[in-house]
């Protein structure tokens, strides 16, 4: 079994860490898989153009460097940590209205995609590349920040188009998503090192990109809260089934909503 985080940003967009620093951060904490998913903003809208000018978005010019650095870091991560690093991006459609805004995480993709099209076309393009499409933080993120509700507002039409919907982003569980039968995933949306403390996925498949993508498609995973400050206690968590029992899809998640609860159980 290993922990995995499929929504991670680097300094290719608005993340603070470089890709090698991200790899070392997760590798040192014993993760088995991560996906680097920097923002890829719309090239037409004012917000998207501004983001690209400010260096907060992947562009056709930076994407080849991005892919090469991910590929070389994936090799290093495997040799040093036995950790799989997947390429990806977060298609970012930011409008003034939260209800017209959507973020779509693509993992396992290696072709640049313009984020300007219709959501349904974008998601299908991701799948056509053999990638996984994830509805990123589709509901209120429990933080004062830009919200993206378009995917949630249209979940009935889009439910079969996505491979997974984020049931947790950072330290917060989204009850609205948890209650549904939608396929789920839990990610940190890491921009800063402290965001490592967040909900993660626990997988038991082979540490291989295809096996990992298949595990997400088949929903063969559980979710755990990972506290980076008490990372040393992680061994204890694994040692005692009682201390960090994972919640299954929509089952016992409520008892793990509190970070302190996991912490105290681990200590106890």
């Amino acid at each position: 079994m290993f922990l995995a985080d499929f929504h991670v940003h680097s300094n290719f967009s608005d993340g603070k860490l470089s890709i090698p620093e991200v790899v070392d951060l997760y590798g040192r904490h014993g993760f088995g898989a991560i996906a680097i998913t920097d923002h890829l903003c719309e090239s037409q809208g004012v917000i998207g153009i501004t983001s690209a000018y400010l260096g907060c978005s992947l562009t056709p010019a930076t994407y080849p460097l991005y892919l090469e650095i991910i590929a070389s870091e994936a090799e290093r991560a495997w040799e040093k940590y036995r950790m799989v690093v997947l390429p990806g991006y977060e298609l970012t459609k930011n409008m003034l209205s939260n209800h017209r805004s959507a973020h779509i995480v693509a993992i396992g993709t290696t072709q640049y995609l313009e984020a300007d099209g219709e959501v349904i076309d974008l998601v299908r393009s991701i799948r056509a590349q053999g990638g996984i499409s994830i509805a990123a933080h589709p509901v209120w993120t429990r933080k004062i920040e830009k919200q993206t509700y378009y995917l949630w507002d249209n979940r009935f039409e889009l439910q079969n188009e996505f491979d997974a919907w984020e049931v947790a982003s950072g330290p917060f569980i989204f009850d609205e998503v948890a209650k549904t039968k939608l396929p789920k995933i839990a990610n940190s949306d890491l921009h800063l090192p402290r965001h490592l403390t967040a909900w993660k996925n626990e997988l038991s498949c082979e540490r291989h990109p295809e096996a990992i993508l298949e595990a997400i498609r088949k929903q063969q995973m559980d979710f755990r809260f990972f506290n980076a400050q008490t990372a040393l206690l992680r061994e204890l968590e694994y040692a005692s089934p009682r201390s960090a029992e994972p919640f299954g899809l929509g089952s016992r998640h409520r008892q793990f909503v509190s970070r302190d609860l996991v912490y105290s159980q681990a200590v106890g």
Partner: protein, 333 residues
Amino acid sequence: MKPLKGADEGLEENLRSFFLQTHPDYELLFCVADWDDPAVPIVENLIRQFPLVSAKLLQGLAPEKLNPKVQNMLPAYAAARHDLLLISDSNTRVPSDYLEQMNRLMGEGVGAVSSIVAGRNARGLGAWLDAAYLNTAVARWMALANVFSHPCLSGKAMLLRRSVMRRFGGLKNLSRYIAEDYMAGQAVRHLGLTVDITQAPIDQHLGECSFTAFWRRHVRWGRIRRAQSPPGFFIEPFFNVWTSGLCGAFAVSALTGFSAPLFFGTHFTLWAAADAWVNHRLLGEWDVRHFLAWFARELLALPQWIHTALGQSVYWRGARIRLLEGGLVAETP
């Protein structure tokens, strides 16, 4: 690695300075696009004169709608024996300890080392204007970028590790960009490494240069900067002594009633003095012609910027290259 194209004035002396390096173990790889290049006999002659220096002359790859300078260097990149690679333009002339200076800076966490260029031996109006630009604005911005840890690599001289370059796809991955030096700096930053610059500048032998050649070169550089970073390009006029001074004088006068001519005079004097000091630091000499060239270049900066803003194509090494967003190359026939 020395990409060559033609036999510019002073080429032999420029190249000779690399044969005279005190570094105990280095090799020189000269790259030409074709064997008819006038630089070939000059290089062959130097190789014969310095049999103890490991040096080779190699033919580069065809541009193939990619950056011709990078394409020219690809065989040399493949043939290089060492991990540390210095890419250096043919018009630079360096002191004998230059490789050692650069090598010393390539420490832990440093991904690349570059140098500020001092324009020397100007002859002709274009060359003086060039010198004024290199010895004030370019030097100032490069030093400032270094102070703020912003990666600023100059293609005139950049030292990189092959092991680091491999991590972003090697030199070949840079051939899709018109400004390979800028993108190399960006790649180094994305790897979490820094760029350092040497204390001492290196010399660029300017020689004879017409006003037209100066104008075209700077329009090309401007369009490259615009393609790489449009916001930076659009605020460039405000970093010109005339534009900033006039805007400042008008604003201060309107807001506070302070004398606009007095404000402009003070601004102009301080700016000119600062640039004269930078120029002197680089060249170690005072010459009134530097001031006159600086004055003219500052006057020309705004019209040149307007000309630059009106197009997207550049002429480089006989080819018209259309620049795409981010400085990607799209050659047009």
